[in-house]
Amino acid sequence: MLRVENLIKVFYPGSVNEKVALDCVSLELREGDFVTLIGGNGAGKSTLLNCVAGVYNVDHGSIFVDDVEITNLPEYKRAAFLGGVFQDPMMGTASNMGIEENLALAYRRGQRRGLRWGVTQKERELYYQQLKRLELGLEDRLDHKVGLLSGGQRQALTLLMATLKKPKVLLLDEHTAALDPKTARKVLEITDQLIEKNNLTTMMVTHNMRDAIKHGNRLIMMHEGRIILDINGEEKKRLTVEDLLDRFGRASGEEFANDRALLSS
């Protein structure tokens, strides 16, 4: 479904701040895979996601979706294949526009836009049903401006927008990190629900070890721009936080030093 080959990304090359963010990363996601991506600060997990999404250009390597190479496609063209939710709740929606207008923009992802009316009555019914499933009461506020919603509501809406038109790969970049714990849990529930219902191939970056273990069928850990652990199937199901810390130590030869990940685990 998604294939990444020998990806290299260097920030500030040739300067004292040179940083190898991705050091020859290769990875293949099978259809229906739900991968959680974990690692310390600067491990390269967000960079990997942003390279796939087209936010950054890669220095070397190739990215394929369904055997179609997308390495050099601009971000807006990749959007036909990809859906994404990022950390900042403000990023994924247009705050001055209504809930239904935002959904309508997402509903046409990857299609040619013309002079047809931006939101049709038939779509409204669809949006009503979809929003109702989120159980946030948004279905009765279709024409409300998104700027009036809370961060959690906006993230839930962004998730719905990313999956409204089934993406080949769903990219989630710490999409609950800016939310309070209770809201974060709710948004993760919605995430699971949408992924399961649509059978989506997903890559989710998280700094929370528990979430990484609890969600998905496969766990990948990155360290200094490389993939150091790739655990799936039965082994992933039995995994505990202690196991993970232990295996991180053996794979990297260091102790897992990320306060954020440890505190929240």
Binding site: Y76, K77, G92, N96, E101, N102, R109, V119
Partner: protein, 297 residues
């Protein structure tokens, strides 16, 4: 008094076309754009040249619209393809248009006295010039408001509106924001040039200088409209722009009537806009003040 009012309405309606253009760049696309000064003069130049060459005034006005759209395309390409900041792209086009406008007119100004303008056919059936201009202005503005309400409600129009709001999100939905920005600029500049063409025909001359300060007039009209007639839905916002442009003209007519020297007009307008734009800052200070006053009570 009625004369002043009617004069303000007639001028306000013609400037409303330009106000809507400014609104599209300033509010919809969220770009502060200075080309306005050049494109309004360009519209006037093209219409004046066309009319003196003996072209039909409506055709000349239409050519002015096209000319403005071309200027919008130029700024759009500078900004999106050559990655020059929007403000600077606008300034570059504005400067370039000065020479272009001189070339179009062949000299610094053209008189349209006793020429056949878009208003002539209404004057011929016995209407006073002011009323002819009100009727025609009303028709232009009415058609424009309906057209833009429809256009910004379509899929492409929604994409343009979203671009000014959150370009990251728009790209994530598979929309090329370069295209939407260029489209928005083309429409905006086209309208501003159209407005210039109408104003020139109304005042019976076109002058290379006539755009100077027009961006501030446009902004003042947008802000007056929003503050006094603000509305949440898009149709309401478009209408508030028209009312804002007319109100601006009435205010100017009144302060002139009250004895303010005409030379101080631009200073007055600039101060009005500065005050209106800084309103949120004052509100920030005022709100806690109000609260503390209430608390004491």
């Amino acid at each position: 008094m009625l004369d002043i009012l009617m004069g303000s309405v007639s001028l306000g309606l013609l400037w409303a076309v330009m106000t809507i253009g400014v609104f599209i760049t300033y509010r919809v696309l969220d770009i502060a754009d200075l080309t306005t000064e050049g494109s309004i003069a360009m519209g006037a130049a093209i219409a004046a040249r066309g009319i003196t060459m003996g072209l039909n005034p409506f055709l000349s006005t239409f050519l002015a619209l096209l000319g403005g759209m071309a200027a919008g395309l130029a700024t759009g390409l500078l900004h999106t393809r050559l990655k020059i900041p929007a403000l600077l792209s606008g300034i570059l086009t504005m400067i370039a248009l000065w020479s272009v406008n001189l070339r179009i007119m062949g000299r610094a100004n053209i008189s349209l006295l006793r020429m056949n303008t878009v208003f002539t056919f209404l004057e011929k059936i016995g209407l006073q010039k002011t009323y002819a201009s009100i009727i025609l202005g009303f028709v232009f503005v009415g058609v424009l408001v309906v057209f833009l309400y429809w256009f910004f409600g379509t899929e492409i129009g929604s994409a343009i509106r979203a671009t000014g709001n959150n370009p990251y999100m728009v790209r994530a939905q598979g929309i090329n924001t370069d295209t939407t920005i260029i489209l928005g600029l083309i429409i905006s500049y086209g309208l501003i040039a159209l407005s210039g063409a109408l104003i020139a025909q109304n005042q019976s001359y076109s002058d290379i200088q006539m755009g100077t300060g027009s961006i501030v007039i446009g902004l003042a009209s947008v802000i007056i409209g929003e503050v006094l007639f603000g509305s949440r839905n898009f149709m309401g916002r478009l209408i508030s722009l028209v009312l804002g442009a007319i109100t601006y003209r009435i205010i100017i007519a009144l302060v002139l009537k009250l004895g303010m020297p005409a030379n101080d007009l631009k200073l007055f307008t600039a101060i009005t806009v500065a005050l209106a734009l800084s309103l949120p800052v004052f509100q920030k200070y005022l709100t806690p003040l109000k609260r503390s006053v209430k608390g004491v009570k």
